[in-house]
Symmetry: C2
Subunit: 445 residues, 2 copies
């Protein structure tokens, strides 16, 4: 993309309404625009990151054997009356009446609807196990929306639901989700720690939240420093193998890690003092096993091998897709702007032309643009007639992990400069070497 043809409305001033750094930078980098309290437009740069995150979530869910579908945003109230949650949910549920005076709602989650789909179409144990998920916009009418996309009202969430014949199989689904989530977050450049959690309105005893450590997090967290040394890495997982998934879950749940809701000072005190940590965390996902809480009242049953009819064991598993943008920025920024991890960056590299209109630098930039594109990389070329300082400031603010700087002096020596956004380190090399280096870096992502 050439910046002269893009829509990147960067703000020079710090917006006064933004209290935390991710909200500030998302506004300043032209990623979002507020349309109403807690409701945002995703401007082109923000939309690109949102799509990258969504794509990673899809890939890892499909890898785990889970099946994508899409449920609508609006739901009939009657489904929620069946589960008993219509009255329980309180004012955070956005209730709507249509022209025929039917009670509807904007879905805050989908346990009822997915259970309805299941009971309409599945009746035999032979069709189990089954895990269905979707990535869809949801609405929670927060009384005080704040922190930008971190606590918005209209938000994008991945929610998946497993249907299993018995407890053991449902716990395998729970473990499978935890493993797939560890891999998902790590691909986004995040360390998200699974912590034993409280269940809230979803219900169920087995539940873990995934938290990203950040000083602006809404939860107080307590953990054994040993857990921050764990890496998922590039291990290949057979998601059908119960023992293999269970072993990975054990590895990540053995060290103490809890939120203030489940914190136990006595157990925490047994950790060697030098490894005891307390901090704040941002919740970016949660998994639940809740057994037959919905299948029983809603009649989601299957006939077993011996001919009896039993309610299925279920769980639900969420990832806060739109919230992740905020969490990633909270975890990865400096005083100049955002620093995108390579896995989610909106563009793979920026090209800065130090002397727009100079035929040698223009030609070199166009060649770089073409060569990077030919390698499957998407560059953002700042081809505006601006001074170098302004171009650098924009690139630093929007946070592309790599920048190639092209100036007349370098070009006459056959060199460009490749700069790492995170370390600030620069290296001179030929254009071809810079393209090779970037292709190599992204091949490993």
């Amino acid at each position: 993309m050439r910046l002269s043809r893009y829509f990147l409305p960067v703000l020079k001033e710090n917006p006064s309404e933004a209290q935390i750094v991710s909200h500030r930078y998302m506004l300043r980098a032209g990623m979002i625009k507020q349309q109403a309290a807690g409701i945002y437009s995703w401007l082109p740069l923000g939309f690109k990151v949102l799509k990258r995150i969504e794509q990673i979530v899809h890939e890892e869910q499909i890898r785990a054997g889970h099946i994508p579908l899409l449920m609508p945003t609006l739901q009939p109230a009657d489904l929620w009356r069946e589960s008993g949650r219509y009255d329980d949910y309180g004012e955070e549920m956005l209730r709507i009446t249509d022209r025929h005076k039917r009670d509807m709602l904007y879905g805050p989650t989908n346990e009822e609807m997915i259970t309805d789909i299941f009971r309409s179409h599945v009746s035999s144990y032979k069709d189990l196990p089954l895990t269905l998920y979707h990535i869809q916009w949801k609405f929670r009418d927060e009384i005080r929306p704040r922190f930008g996309v971190m606590r918005g009202r209209e938000f994008l969430m991945k929610d998946g639901y497993n249907f299993d014949l018995d407890y053991e199989s449902a716990i395998h689904a729970y473990n499978r989700h935890m493993v797939s989530y560890l891999r998902t977050y790590e691909r986004m450049g995040l360390q998200a720690i699974p912590m034993r959690a409280a269940s809230g309105p979803i219900g169920g005893d087995n539940t873990h939240e995934f938290l990203v450590l950040a000083s602006t997090g809404e939860s107080e967290v307590f953990y054994d420093a040993a857990i921050t040394d764990l890496k998922f890495g590039d291990r290949v997982v057979n998601y059908d193998d119960r023992a293999e998934c269970e072993a990975i879950v054990k590895e990540w749940t053995a060290p103490y890690a809890r939120t203030d809701e489940t914190h136990d000072e006595a157990v925490f005190g047994q950790i060697p003092e030098e490894r005891r940590r307390s901090s704040r965390g941002i919740e970016v996902g949660q998994i639940f096993y809740f057994g037959t809480k919905y299948s029983e009242p809603m009649g989601a049953t299957v006939v077993t091998a011996d001919g009896s009819r039993v309610p299925v064991h279920m769980g639900s598993h969420g990832i806060g897709v739109s919230r992740l943008l905020g969490a990633i920025i909270e975890a990865s920024h400096d005083d100049k702007g955002i620093i995108w991890p390579e896995g989610v960056t909106p563009f793979h590299a920026g090209i800065v032309n130090l002397k727009q209109g100079d035929s040698s630098t223009d030609l070199a930039c166009e060649a770089l643009y073409r060569d990077l594109s030919a390698r499957g990389l998407e560059p953002l070329y700042d081809d505006r007639d601006e001074r170098a300082g302004a171009k650098f400031a924009t690139m630093d603010l929007i946070g592309l992990p790599w920048r190639i700087t092209v100036g007349p002096r370098g070009i006459s020596a056959g060199k460009v400069e490749l700069t790492n956004r995170r370390t600030g380190e620069s290296e001179e090399m030929s254009s071809g070497a810079a393209v090779d280096r970037l292709a190599q870096i992204y091949a490993g992502i």
Copy 2:
């Protein structure tokens, strides 16, 4: 995907509520499930086709130089009060009140919001031309939703908006959209004819609808048969070239083609009788130029080169993404089921194992599955323990364009059977030849 692990709830009976063939087949093929009047869940097979269509729309919009973003589903009523449409829109607009008693609505279209984004961030003619688009769920509270996804209440639409300095530039944007739409529909295997249309609540004089000919269409259409001979083909278009885009538009708008709303019997009568056609059509898109209808009342202006301030010229351009599934099926089916064009098929080929459990056919099917996947193709392997007739019926119903049949007799002779869903023609060949043939077919899509 192996069918034994998929969620494909095929119905044996014809659902009584479905009046048209696309609705019937989408329900029977397990593509959708109705959750409320005009509100559907997209089950896995339906969701896959929806994503393919969405992807083609994205690719062709980006090719035309248009920039994707994403606006929210809910909008504040105040924006619509500015344009005067809040009161005009009538009962089809779903009005919502949030917990703080603020008036909101579920967006039926986005002219107001995109104009708000523009006026907040753009103030110079140097930032023009600009075309922004999104693909987002919308809601129109139809009094009698029917025909499945063809006239639903919650529906997925691509809507794009151009901002230009003057009339000529805006007409180029109009032409660019028409060209990109012709290419978009053709990639989906559809012939969608641009017809001069009436503007309705969007406003503006220049407008064309794109209609797919089908006996179940909601509009009566009149056209010169010459237009059905036009093919976009694989021509490479420079979307910046005004003359080139205009020439393509002229080519497609020269033959008479109008809906009943704009039909002129006198002009129609001048077409040679043997080329006069009347038929029915399904609307799958519409483009508008409406000048300063929104920019003027909402203050979307730019400063020109001579320092004066002028309202921008705008247009809006829609494609009915979810409705397209219905339109494609209406245009492409037989009495056994759907026939997907290669461009939008949910799986590239079906593999039918005639004797599940026989080691030679099982091995051959697994090898085919692996080889097709290695070529970037996605097969659906019917690995259920079912009789051949049931497997064929399912494949015919869900409409994959190609089927590979693997039986013990063929395998002993080193052969499988490749069958074309549309023609019913089968050809015996080696597994390797079948894989090569399919890779070749899809390379051209």
